[in-house]
Amino acid sequence: MSAVRCVDLCKTYRQGDQDIKALDHVSIEIDKGGFVCLSAPSGGGKTTLLNAIGGLDIPDSGEVYVDGQRIDNLSKGDLADLRLRQIGFVFQAYNLIPVLTAQENVEFVMQVQGVATSERNEKAKEILKEVGLEGLENRRPAEMSGGQQQRVAVARAVASRPALILADEPTANLDSKTSDGLMELFTELNENHSSTFIIASHDQRVMNYAKRLVRMLDGRIVEDIDQRAA
């Protein structure tokens, strides 16, 4: 069974008197344990596709399956549960909770999931260390740089070891060394925990790490390359 399957997705936004096809008959299937980079120029539809897969946004037509379950017709509450239990998000803008510290932000999802205090403390510390934020656990978002906030957001997305991780431009604010570190972490999680990664990015480094590269343009998939063969 595939981790994600999209069938003929369409999503149109109206801007002024213009219709913008953010998704134009997109079909894609991603296997469990996949490591996919979605690449497109700005406005190409990456975020829209990730949101549809994550149940954040309902497409106008087409079907979305996550882990074999059709999700585009689920209720709001069921979608929330799906995101909470199966999906880790890294949003394009890092989107941390301002009143919580780095550590608390990372623990947030686990806490809502009901993970025991000591366990989630430990996991959060460990993952923060892996993204290079050791010692910054008690800082609030406002007290961190953009890149640091970005890494907290990544830590939050992967801390609970979700089966599917959707990351929107996770390296946008990072220098090359930190970016590499992050991609190593993703690769390690992908290989050892068989988490499926779908990463929207036009960062060449990310494309290099990905096992599969999907290029989009104006809401359509224009190229789909299996990079493992190469």
Binding site: N51, L56, G77, R83, L84, F91, N95, P98, R156
Partner: protein
């Protein structure tokens, strides 16, 4: 600590000034309510005490239907021994027997129909303030003496003074003609014109002789330890009533139905004012919570995107309001209790109150009354209404789409 609690608490202090302003409004309203309600209840109990201390008492023992019909033959037999038994049972002197009759009082040149109480001179001053208000001459002494004290207006109307004699004419308990000549020993001034014009008192023994009562009377007046203890008082008095008698016990409420009505009327107008205050505070809370929800749209979008259900977020908003409301209740009740407590010991005087007080025989100062009801009724209402005010901002979240919300800058 649960995550929702922590979020709620920290969220409150993101805008400390706004939170304090809103909480301050609640604290102030709660304080005001505690003080006003306490004062109001203090005033009521003063009113009740004063009204009951004239003749009514906390309760009375009477013959059935006497209270409504006031017929001379509806008597309490052997009333003095009964009064003694009640005094014995209660270990209290605040018990007195009385008779009541209508008579024509005549001086040399005038006659008026009046009401006459036969009272136990030894005990009457324990259940009534009339003996203490005898401003000319003295109060009654000997239980069998042919003496009378009367209201000041009546004395003026009859053209009599202390030391004069008047005749009383009426009918006895058996319907026969009753008459007596009595010596005026005192004149009282209660400040209540109706009483001062229409009422006189003679000793109970003499009353029983004059009206052929054969040891009977019409009412045993009893005071206990405050209004709250009246039900217990009644059951203790019940235990000494003769087993075969059909005597009834009436509490102050039944004896003076107008009193409670007057208080209720006053209460409803006061409570309308309080209600307006509560509504104003609720709207200020509604405004605050609505604003704080709106400015966190983006943040709420994030947590919803992460998988927190809108219902849980709604609970967060309600919890934030509850924390603020609780702060308002705790601090408001504390401040209100402090202020009120100060006035409970020192009393509160209004300008011009001395005059009024002297005229109506009231104390010159008002003392608020603190109890659980006066402390909590107002603040709890404020709390409930602020919680109601948080429902709308909380429910609104259900229509919020996380992606749109996250787009908001």
């Amino acid at each position: 600590m649960k995550i929702v609690f922590r979020l709620a608490w920290r969220n409150l202090w993101r805008q400390p000034r706004r939170t304090w302003l809103t909480t301050g409004a609640m604290i102030f309203a709660n304080m005001l309510l505690v003080f006003m309600i306490s004062l109001q209840f203090g005033m009521y109990s003063l009113m009740i005490d004063n009204a009951l201390q004239v003749f009514t008492g906390h309760m009375q023992v009477q013959a059935p239907l006497y209270n409504d019909e006031k017929k001379m033959r509806q008597t309490v037999p052997n009333i003095v021994p009964l009064a003694n038994a009640i005094r014995e049972e209660l270990q209290s002197d605040k018990v007195a027997a009385r008779g009541w009759a209508f008579a024509l009082a005549s001086s040399d040149d005038r006659s008026f129909g009046i009401g006459i109480y036969g009272v136990e001179p030894e005990f009457e001053n324990n259940v009534s303030n009339i003996p203490g208000l005898t401003s000319l001459g003295r109060y009654l002494g000997d239980n069998d003496a042919a003496e009378i004290v009367m209201g000041s207006v009546l004395a003026r109307n009859l053209h009599v003074e202390v030391g004069d004699e008047i005749t009383l004419m009426g009918s006895g308990v058996d319907g026969s003609f009753a008459a007596a000549v009595v010596n005026i020993v005192g004149i009282f001034d209660s400040g209540v014109t109706d009483i001062d014009r229409n009422i006189a008192e003679i000793p109970l023994g003499f009353f029983q002789d004059t009206f052929f009562m054969e040891g009977a009377g019409h009412q045993v007046v009893v005071f206990g330890d405050g209004l709250a203890a009246v039900p217990e008082l009644k059951s203790r008095v019940q235990s000494v009533l003769p087993g075969d008698s059909d005597l009834v016990m009436l509490d102050w409420d039944a004896l003076q139905p107008g009193l409670k009505q007057a208080i209720q009327a006053d209460m409803s107008s006061a409570f309308f004012m309080y209600f307006v205050l509560v509504i104003l505070v609720s709207f200020s809370v509604l405004n605050t919570q609505l604003m704080s929800v709106l400015e966190r749209t983006r943040e709420f979008g994030i947590v919803m995107a992460l998988g927190l259900k809108p219902g849980k977020l709604g609970r967060l908003v309600i919890l934030e309001t509850a924390m603020m409301g609780l702060l308002g209740v705790v601090l408001g009740v504390a401040a209100g209790a402090l202020v009120t407590a100060w006035f409970t010991t020192n009393g509160l005087a209004f300008p011009g109150m001395d005059e009024m007080a002297a005229k109506f025989n009231l104390p010159a100062r008002m003392y608020p009354q603190i109890n659980a009801l006066t402390l909590l009724a107002g603040p709890i209402t404020v709390f409930i209404f602020t919680m109601l005010a948080s429902i709308y901002p909380a429910v609104r979240l259900h229509w919020q789409n996380p992606v749109d919300a996250m787009r908001v800058a």
